[in-house]
């Protein structure tokens, strides 16, 4: 079984050991503790007996600290230009070291607060900088105005400065001003794409008339505020202020960089807080009386012994039982080492229902085959295999990432195999190089055949693989029906289709045509008669017809596998395009240089785009064609209560 068998666990214990027990369970990390909210709501007797444990304020306090620490860690990464690693891994750390680093918690807390204060300063400086910059920008247009800003006019004149929209006509404004107030004077200070900057000097007695004219042109007065001195002086002042702020900012950033030496400690602290938060928040899933607590959860059967030991040690009363029929439980996929990397593909789709079956072991092989056939170049496969192998060994990724990379490792091996079968090594690199540089005629013979020469053969092979793949999917559907005691369904929905489809293939291929003919007829009639068996009245007939019409679906499903050929050809042909382009300059040194450039760029591009294509299309063949036949998704993820830390992984010595 590839969905791990689960056991349901119920525990009653004394309140005094609750925290220790939770800590132990968290270290074990195998029990998915179930929330009791539903049960409390549904069962009134239960509700009178117990009450939920909640210590929300604790959780909030820890959350608060976690976000503070994260903020500081982000800032350190940002200002020290630390590149996030391509693959995130948690650093293994011994429990003793963990304790040691965090021995002086108040010291760490103080450091975090100091760092936060610096961050606060930084954002204040940012705001100040923006403000001064805005003022500076608003003064720049008046650079040429040599009248200090504090002077708004003389005894009998007014100085009005401001701007009109760029679209308004200055000439017209000037003309109108001359008409309304002939002694007004207008000075222009140039314009930018939005506005034209003007200063108008007018007699105080003409002030109202001038204002009216200006208003009609959409004049926007410039407010000098309490600025003193000429525009140029003010600009200089702003620039000085900006320089000061910049200096302070640099100082603050330097101070933040100084916290880098504590980065590791902060990360430890972060994870410690996460653990505390989890311990605090898991309590909300328990219920308690005055002296005892009660919890329920799921655990994989394989882990039962260890959990039992812990529970016995803590002197709890507990029960473990298998799930009842039709009871859903959280889903944990547990496959053999060879197929477990492909769980990544299953998870990307959706987890299976806990009562259905996990598709992973049934498609792992075909996924690798399809990927290999579509990438179909031994050299690309080798690169993929080596790259993923190195990542696995050097970076030691965890969880989904590890599975994904292992999966590509297997796919790479499959690609080498199919590349060798079809004779693709960087396309026809060897042939082209031999011809261009050594005037020799060399070719690596494919182990099987070259699809370029006989594409029909590969097309047939692809469709055959597709047929087998689909039959496996249908077979799994029948298996589930039989397991659930629906023999008739297995026979009608899968058996009859097997008969019809095999019959049709025999008939069309001309092998044993008479047998094929009879099989087709039996299958078709059978489907026609039984397809509507769950419908009523006329629906029985229509349902049968509808079912039989489903044969078009099988046709298109099988044809869909022709992409194995098409994408495989695409890789090979593009690779040979690259090689041809490289060889255009002929032999010699220039030719060699051009060839190397074309080789590096072209093959990198071809490999990445086709690896992406192979991944996506292999997924599609599984998700649409294969899963469509039988897969029932909808399971809840098995999410055990564990140490889901971000930066470190605490290694504990087994001391039993």
């Amino acid at each position: 079984m590839s969905i791990a068998r689960m056991k349901k666990l119920s525990v009653v214990g004394h309140a005094s050991i609750r925290r220790e027990l939770m800590l132990k369970l968290m270290e074990l990390g195998v029990v998915d503790i179930v929330s009791q909210t539903d049960k409390l709501a549904a069962d009134s007797q239960w509700k009178d007996l117990v009450k939920p444990v909640s210590r929300e304020s604790d959780v909030v306090r820890f959350e608060n600290w976690i976000s503070k620490v994260s903020q500081v860690l982000d800032a350190i990464a940002k200002y020290c230009d630390l590149k996030a690693p391509l693959i995130k891994t948690r650093k293994p750390v011994s429990a003793a070291r963990f304790e040691e680093v965090l021995r002086d918690r108040s010291d760490v807390e103080q450091k975090i607060l100091n760092a936060l204060a610096q961050l606060g300063n930084l954002s204040k400086l940012h705001a100040a900088q923006n403000k001064v910059e805005a003022v500076r920008l608003s003064i720049i247009p008046w650079k040429e105005l040599d009248i200090p800003f504090e002077i708004h006019g003389t005894h009998s004149t007014d100085l009005i400065i401001g701007a009109i929209p760029a679209l308004a006509s200055r000439q017209e404004l000037e003309a109108q001003l001359a008409a309304k107030a002939e002694r007004a004077m207008m000075l222009s200070f140039g314009q930018d794409p939005e506005q034209q900057y003007l200063a108008v000097i007018t007699l105080k007695e003409d002030g109202a008339a001038v204002n009216d004219v200006l208003k009609s042109f959409g004049f926007n007065r410039f407010h000098q505020g309490d600025m003193e001195g000429t525009a140029e002086e003010n600009i200089r002042k702003c620039e000085e202020q900006l320089a000061q702020i910049e200096e302070k900012k640099n100082g603050t950033i330097e101070a933040i960089r100084g916290f880098r030496e504590y980065q590791e400690q902060f990360q430890f602290f972060h994870d410690d807080l996460v653990l505390h938060r989890n311990l605090a928040s898991i309590k909300s899933r328990l219920v308690a009386t005055r002296e005892t607590f009660y919890m329920e959860g799921w655990l994989p059967r394989a882990a039962a012994v260890k959990v039992e030991e812990v529970l016995l040690e803590k002197e709890c009363y507990f029960e473990m039982r298998d799930p009842e029929k039709d009871e859903t439980h959280p889903v944990l996929l547990a496959n053999k080492p060879l197929s477990s990397p492909f769980e990544a593909i299953t998870k990307l789709y959706a987890l299976p229902d806990s009562r259905a079956i996990d598709a992973t072991p049934f498609f792992a092989l075909s996924y690798a085959i399809f990927f290999g056939m579509m990438l179909s170049d031994a050299a690309y496969g080798l690169i993929l295999t080596i790259a993923t192998f190195v990542i696995l060994k050097k970076m030691k990724p965890e969880g989904m990432t590890e599975k994904m990379i292992k999966m590509f490792f297997f796919c790479g091996i499959s690609t080498i195999f199919w590349g060798a079968m079809f004779g693709g090594y960087f396309g026809d690199l060897v042939t082209v190089v031999a011809k261009t540089f050594f005037q020799a005629d060399v070719a690596i013979k494919p182990l099987w055949f070259n699809p370029m020469e006989d594409p029909m053969k590969l097309l047939m092979f692809s469709l055959l693989l597709g047929g087998i793949h689909l039959f496996i999917g249908m077979g799994l559907n029948a298996y589930m029906a039989i397991r659930d005691g629906r023999l008739l369904d297995a026979l009608c929905d899968t058996g009859l289709w097997y008969i019809l489809l095999i019959g049709l293939v025999l008939l069309l291929a001309g092998v044993a045509a008479p047998i094929g003919q009879w099989m087709s007829i039996i299958g078709a009639v059978g489907i026609l008669l039984t397809g509507g068996r769950y419908n009523k009245g006329l629906g029985k007939l229509v349902g049968g017809l509808g079912s039989l019409y489903g044969i078009t679906g099988y046709l298109s499903d099988v044809l869909s596998y022709s992409r194995l050929l098409a994408l495989g050809l695409a890789t090979g042909v593009i690779a040979s395009v690259v090689n041809t382009l490289g060889s255009l300059a002929g032999g010699g040194i220039t030719g060699l240089i051009l060839f190397i450039i074309a080789f590096c760029i072209g093959h990198t591009y071809n490999m990445s785009i086709n690896a992406l294509g192979s991944f996506v299309h292999s997924c599609r063949l599984q998700y649409v064609e294969f899963f469509g036949k039988f897969y029932q998704s909808g399971g809840e993820t098995f999410d055990p209560f564990n140490e889901n830390t971000k930066y470190i992984q605490i290694i504990r010595e087994e001391n039993k």
Binding site: Y349, S562, L567, L569, V573, L612, C619, R620
Partner: protein, 165 residues
Amino acid sequence: MNTDAVNLLFNGGFLAILGAAVAALAGIGSAMGVGIAGQSASGIVAEDPKKFGQALLLQALPGTQGIYGLLIAFIILQKIGLLGGAGLMDLSTIQGASLLAAALPVGLVGIWSGIAQGKTAASAIMLISKRPEEIAKGMVYTAMVETYAVLGLLISFLMINGIKL
């Protein structure tokens, strides 16, 4: 009628090259599709620059039509001897016209499927802006469109492969 023009139109070599050109037109679809997806990608990267890689992956998907077109164009050019030292073969009108006809599926399907796939990729990019963990589903939706470009490629390839020169 202008005999020069007629001679040109019914010249096998010209028709075959026209076929290669039509196949390469699939690049129109890819260019538009990648463009559409790129617009969405910039939008979400503005919100969260960390999604650049994921968005780029989705943006690359509609790019394949252009590659399929190039592939068929290349095969045609190789088949009629325009690539490599041999020089253009003598082709009959029928041969040239057949190659032109064979190039139509990949060229035409490529244009429209590229655009459609670009739109799907754009919405898949929107999907990852909200749920980055669901990128595989977005990719599969996008790949559904590509199926038809693959079929166009396949049929063009089989036709060209079947034409005897």
